[in-house]
Point group: C2
Chain length 412, copies 2
């Protein structure tokens, strides 16, 4: 079954919005084993919408459209499809009543234009829209399935998941993906260490993708059903895990802080942080997790030498001798904030986020990250590349990773 | 001049990535007055790439492609185009040498596949790529312009802006957009207050877009040249400014914190913050600005009652009597952090970010934001909707806006 996704809307062609509907629909269709061969975007223009529909009807078995179902003259996907297929439009009185109800709220007025949205091409089925006035249309015609959906993602996505996807034909095989997230090694080193696995691997396939401070491996299995795909993914996952070990820090939608928070919750441990160059991003990341007050007690953003002295009791002599960006100061920050907040762990970060403030000895991107644990104080030195926000982000991921590796060592 | 944008890449059809290149190119072409009529996406498949190219050559004057210029067998945009146009491929020795230089770094090895990237269809011009090994191609053929560019946005975007856009033909009229960013009023109230302007407005057009805590008005002017467009935009901008006043907080790419930082820099003023529910996001936002250590001195993330007492000297009695989420505690946080850091301003934020921790009296989304200024202490109560991260973000924007309005009042 070959599918084509058509989006209509001049705002797409003007670059005012991105065609995220095509990505969403493609991902869901791939998971179901339906091959998408084309994405097409045309403006709100009758002859080009007609051309796009005729082309799709000539080459695809399944056609999904988004947009062009609104009440205005510009909205013409349904009318054009009806014309192309030679089908009359009929009023759907159920939806008409539904709309009259929606418009009965104070401040809303239904105009005759709105009735256009309750029209259905003969033989088509109306798909209700729980988040707007434009219903979708499901039409089967000469062995093809054509589904029209509204453009706004908050309307299209639930409609597709609840009313369209379950009704699409089953396929012989489906695709299922899993993403392994790796940190602590570069893309080249990672590929080297698993080169023989990649070379002999056909199902699941392996696709690496380099991210900021992380490498993602996307494993995609093809199988008769979900169980078979899961078995294939688990097998390969175990092989990769054996090679890459704790460098794999998360899978799929899980993030670094999710993993660290889980470890802290499970072991009932607490943390406090003292940040300089990351400016609060580590505290913000820790506190993005619901219930984080169980493990996160205090964050100090000591952005000047003066506040490092007054808030963290770091000696002016140490700052003068070593400089604020130094291993000694990072360690002192970690130890002091742990002491002040009476937590199990303290993290101290000091560095140069740039773009100014660097020197030959202490360049932009130099960051010291210290971890004060119950039994030891350690520090690592990093040289991060990138812009100010990238350096902040890399430092935070690295700090979380230091804590993760410590917690794994303790529990393992 | 009609343009078509073709993206090739199976990862697009699998929904693994979004076609952001089409949006980027469309926006830049619209600004130049070139009409984009079609976006097309096909996979790494020779016959479908060929079909897409043939169709585009039959209907468009300008064809821009992204992707399919890599070193592997899957990368076939250039080879397919050469075949469709009947042009032989010729080795570009300059680029060959350039590639040999790139691959001479330790850990890199050039394979014979890579040479494929130095081939150019006869009559075509190579466009250098400063961020990767795949150069672009500019080809003029029978009155049409065809430009091939690499897929990764970090390679395509600079190549297009520097090497392609300036060489495209001039048009009779161009489009120029400006975005006004508005906060402190809802979309409906905003539209009401400028309804008569919108109703009579044809050039520039006005398109409102609701964002988290902000409303954007996109003004798009059509004119003979940049000067005419700017004049039209300035005229309408002034009309809207007269109605919406300080609710307009920024234009185009400028953000709320950019504006606040500018005001602080200009008046040489300093700030410290004490955060509870925003968990460091306000400090992080303040410190995203290069040079922010000039105005930002201290951030305290007091995430527990105990640290509010120990770090901010807030009395246990006050916390017990009013609760941590209260106007009195927000004000005390602002006053204390200003005092501790010896800054001109202190900001205190306390609230319930959820999803847990709410009650009928103090629901999720309740946030108090206090501003301690040199001459007064004020506090505002908010009830934000949304998920945990949305509530944090809305609170931070609102806190920055309180400071912005105070600074404007002082300077105005």
């Amino acid at each position: 079954m070959k599918a084509e996704i058509i989006a209509t809307g001049t705002e797409l062609l003007l670059g005012q919005i991105t065609n995220t509907n095509a990505r969403f629909l493609s991902e869901k269709l791939a998971e179901k084993g339906i091959d998408v061969y084309w994405h097409t975007v045309v403006g709100d223009n009758p002859s080009r919408v007609e051309e796009a529909l005729r082309t799709a009807l000539s080459r695809a078995d399944l056609i999904l459209t988004s947009g062009g179902l609104g009440p205005t003259m510009d909205d013409l996907t349904k009318e054009t499809l009806a014309e192309v297929l030679g089908l009359p439009l009929e009023l759907h009185t159920g939806w008409q009543q539904q709309m009259e109800k929606m418009f009965s709220r104070p401040g809303h007025k239904m105009t005759s234009n709105n009735l256009k949205q309750a029209m259905v091409p003969k033989g088509g089925k109306l798909i209700p829209n729980n988040f707007g006035t434009a219903p979708g249309i499901w039409l089967e015609h000469q062995g093809k399935i054509i589904v029209l959906m509204p453009g706004p993602p908050r309307e299209l996505e639930p409609m597709f998941l609840e009313e369209v996807l379950p009704n699409l034909p089953e396929t012989d095989s489906i695709l299922l993906s899993r993403v392994l997230k790796i940190t602590g090694m570069g893309e080249a080193a990672m590929e080297d260490s698993i080169a023989d696995i990649i070379a002999n691997q056909t199902n699941p396939t392996i696709a690496p993708l380099a991210k900021l401070n992380e490498v993602h491996l996307r494993l995609t299995a093809k199988g008769k059903n979900k169980e078979e795909c899961l078995r294939l993914l688990d097998e390969l996952d175990q092989k990769l895990q054996a090679r890459l070990g704790n460098n794999i820090f998360a899978r799929d939608d899980e993030t670094m802080v999710d993993v660290v928070a889980e470890l802290l919750f499970a072991q009932k441990l607490t943390v406090a942080v003292a940040e300089s160059c990351t400016g609060g991003l580590l505290a913000h990341t820790f506190t993005n997790i619901p219930g984080s007050s169980d493990y996160f007690h205090l964050g100090l953003v000591t952005y000047s030498n003066q506040t490092k002295i007054s808030q963290l009791n770091i000696s002016a002599d140490l700052l003068a001798a070593e400089g604020a960006v130094s291993e000694a100061v990072a360690k002192a920050m970690a130890v002091q904030v742990k002491q002040i907040a009476q937590t199990d762990f303290g993290i101290g970060i000091t560095g140069i986020a740039g773009p100014g403030g660097g020197s030959p000895e202490k360049p932009v991107g130099l960051v010291y990250i210290a971890l004060a644990a119950p039994d030891q104080v350690s520090c690592r030195k990093f040289n991060f590349l990138g812009k100010r926000e990238n350096i902040k982000e890399r430092a935070v991921i690295s700090a979380l990773n230091l804590l993760r590796l410590y917690l794994l060592k303790q529990s393992g």
